[in-house]
């Protein structure tokens, strides 16, 4: 495999991981907010 393609795939994996993590954090945040709304 061409090293550039390998580099790109590496980037995509790292980016994908971070991105999934951010989405997860966002989901947690929204759950908390929903719960707060219920209590208000």
């Amino acid at each position: 495999m061409n090293p550039l393609t390998a580099m790109f795939i590496g980037f995509a994996i790292v980016w994908g991981g971070l991105f999934a993590y951010v989405l997860r954090l966002n989901r947690i945040g929204r759950t908390i907010e929903r719960q707060l709304r219920r209590e208000q």
């Binding site: 550039l4 995509a12 994908g16 966002n26 929204r30 907010e33 707060l36 209590e39 208000q40």
Partner: protein, 252 residues
């Protein structure tokens, strides 16, 4: 004294989760940007593939400065209106800004190693970014050590304003200082002999857009998180007061 009033009844998410939406959009653009940076953009003449780190370094530095601009505006807003939402926004932008600025410095250093063989040069842009990083970090320190909530928020706001106004002066002074010991001109700091090839410009712009969107998404998420934490703390406070410990009644 900043009031908690504007975060006690949280404006809660209904309907479309735009934060997730922006994250998706930014993420997709980031992947596109990486593709363009690594596979689409032509190889640079003097530095070959090592130059590609430029497509991470420049957008990261740009977002670092953008985030500080947001800190500046929110700091003024906070001092002017005392609304805690401005303080939270400034705090969130500071945190995210420091992350992107760190990325900019590290990538800049790696690029310097590839281009000039040394891990660090006192090149004006890198130095100014480094100073920006320091001001960010000090701002976070002030929030951590600065005393009770609203006070440290106020101090961090002052720092945000003063720091923002200082950055151009720092840059000018480093540029002037540098004129005494100019850097080797073989490779200019952009590393380009004759300006940007259009495909490089495209790749750069896509990456800038991706990073900016991700900044906005992260900012929104972090700020909302802080507001929720605030509201939770206020709720707990209220509960403790209602349950009534003797100590509290007297001071109510």
């Amino acid at each position: 004294m900043a009031s908690y009033a504007d975060t006690e009844t949280l404006e809660l998410p209904r309907g479309f989760d735009w934060r997730a939406g922006l994250t998706w959009l930014g993420g997709l653009l980031a992947v596109l940007g990486m593709y363009m940076a690594v596979l689409y953009a032509p190889t640079e003449r003097t530095m070959s593939h090592a130059q590609r780190i430029f497509y991470v370094h420049v957008p990261a530095a740009w977002v670092g400065f953008l985030a500080f601009g947001v800190v500046f505006v929110c700091s003024i807003g906070f001092l002017w209106t005392r609304r805690r939402s401005f303080d939270l926004a400034a705090h969130a932008s500071t945190e995210i800004g420091v992350v992107f600025t760190t990325l900019a410095i590290v990538s800049g250093s790696v690029w310097g190693r590839a281009a000039w063989g040394t891990w660090w040069t006192w090149d004006p842009r890198l130095t100014t970014t480094f100073m920006l990083w320091f001001i960010y970090v000090v701002s976070l320190m002030v929030r951590a050590y600065g005393g009770p909530g609203s006070q440290s928020g106020r101090f961090a706001a002052v720092l945000g304003i003063v720091g923002f106004l200082d950055i151009p002066l720092i840059h000018l002074s480093v540029v002037w200082w540098r004129s005494l010991h100019p850097l080797p001109v073989v490779v200019r700091s952009e590393g380009f002999g004759s300006g940007l090839h259009p495909a490089m410009l495209q790749a750069l712009l896509v990456n800038v857009a991706a990073f900016t969107l991700l900044y906005v998404a992260l900012f929104g998420i972090r700020r909302a998180q802080m507001a929720a934490a605030d509201a939770l703390a206020a709720r707990r406070e209220e509960q403790r007061i209602r349950e009534g410990t003797l100590a509290r009644e007297g001071t109510r």
